[in-house]
C-alpha cells in the first residue's frame, strides 16, 4: 500500500494546519484513546493519565510530532521513523492492534477540529497514511 500524489498533497496541506494545534491534538487523541479503549492504559502504568496531566500532554506532543515527521518526509516514511520503529519493536513492544486504535482516535480528533478539511477524500488519505505509519512502526517486530 503506497500513497498516491493526491493523497500526499492532502496530508501535507492538512499537516500545515494541524501543526499549529499539535500539542492539544496529541493530548485529545490520547484522552480519547484511554477513554474508549481502557486496555491501552496498560502501557502507561508509570503515567498520571488524568485529564490535564503534564505527562499526558508531553506524550501527546511526542506522538503528534512523530506523525508530523512522517508527513514532512512523506516520500520516505520508513527512513524518517526508523529509530522509532526500532524503539517500538525492541523496547516498547506495543501490540500491533493498538496502532489501529490510536490512528482511529487521531482521525476522530481531526474530524472534530477540522470539519471543513475533513472531507471524504481527506478521511481516506489520512486513514491510509496512518496505516502506513503503523506498518513502519511494526515492521521490525519479527
Amino acid at each position: 500500500m503506497s500513497l498516491t500524489k493526491t493523497e500526499r498533497t492532502l496530508i501535507v496541506s492538512m499537516w500545515a494546519k494541524i501543526s499549529t494545534q499539535a500539542d492539544t491534538i496529541g493530548t485529545e487523541t490520547l484522552e480519547r484513546l484511554f477513554l474508549s479503549y481502557p486496555q491501552t492504559k496498560t502501557y502507561f502504568p508509570h503515567f498520571d493519565l488524568h485529564p490535564g496531566s503534564a505527562q499526558l500532554h508531553a506524550h501527546g506532543s511526542k506522538v503528534v510530532a512523530a506523525v508530523g515527521d512522517a508527513a514532512k518526509n512523506i516520500d520516505n516514511i520508513g527512513a524518517a521513523l526508523s529509530k522509532l520503529s526500532e524503539l517500538h519493536a525492541y523496547v516498547l513492544r506495543v501490540d500491533p492492534v493498538n496502532f489501529k486504535l490510536l490512528s482511529h482516535c487521531l482521525l476522530v480528533t481531526l474530524a472534530a477540529r477540522f470539519p471543513a478539511d475533513f472531507t471524504a477524500e481527506a478521511h481516506a488519505a489520512w486513514d491510509k497514511f496512518l496505516s502506513v505509519v503503523s506498518s513502519v512502526l511494526t515492521e521490525k517486530y519479527r
Binding site: H104, V108, A112, A120
Partner: protein, 147 residues
C-alpha cells in the same frame, strides 16, 4: 454482554436526537465505500461508485445508508438488549448477504468519525467512548448468529 451506565445512555440518546438520520446514514455508508474501497464488493448493483463525489452523491448509497442508520436507531432504543434486537438481521447478514463481520467494525468506526465531523467539540472523548461501546455492541450482535 455490553452494559451501559445511565450517563452513557443519556449521552448517546441526546446526541442521536439531534442527528439527521437520513443524511448521516448516507454520509457514513458513502465514507465507508470511499475510505475502504473493498467494501464496494457488496454493492455491485448500486451503479456509479467510480469516485468519492460519485459515491457520496449516489442515490442508492444515500437510500441504503438511511436504511442502515435507521436500524442503528433501534440499537439506541434497546441498548441493553442488542443481541435480541439484531438476531434476525444477524441471520440475514450471514445467510443471505454473506457479509464478513469485520465490515460491521469498519462501518461503526466510520460512523464515529462522521459524528465527530458533524458535532465537533460536542463529540467529547466521553461521548465518543459511549458510542464506541454502542458500535462494538451492534457489531457483536450482528455477528452473533453467524455459523
Amino acid at each position: 454482554m455490553v452494559h451501559f451506565t445511565a450517563e452513557e445512555k443519556a449521552a448517546v440518546t441526546s446526541l442521536w436526537s439531534k442527528m439527521n438520520v437520513e443524511e448521516t446514514g448516507g454520509e457514513a455508508l458513502g465514507r465507508l465505500l470511499v475510505v475502504y474501497p473493498w467494501t464496494q464488493r457488496f454493492f455491485d448493483s448500486f451503479g456509479n461508485l467510480s469516485s468519492p463525489s460519485a459515491i457520496l452523491g449516489n442515490p442508492k448509497v444515500k437510500a441504503h445508508g438511511k436504511k442502515v442508520l435507521t436500524s442503528f436507531g433501534d440499537a439506541i432504543k434497546n441498548m441493553d438488549n442488542l443481541k435480541t434486537t439484531f438476531a434476525k438481521l444477524s441471520e440475514l447478514h450471514c445467510d443471505k448477504l454473506h457479509v464478513d463481520p469485520e465490515n460491521f467494525k469498519l462501518l461503526g468506526n466510520v460512523l464515529v468519525c462522521v459524528l465527530a465531523h458533524h458535532f465537533g467539540k460536542e463529540f467529547t472523548p466521553q461521548v465518543q467512548a459511549a458510542y464506541q461501546k454502542v458500535v462494538a455492541g451492534v457489531a457483536n450482535a450482528l455477528a452473533h448468529k453467524y455459523h
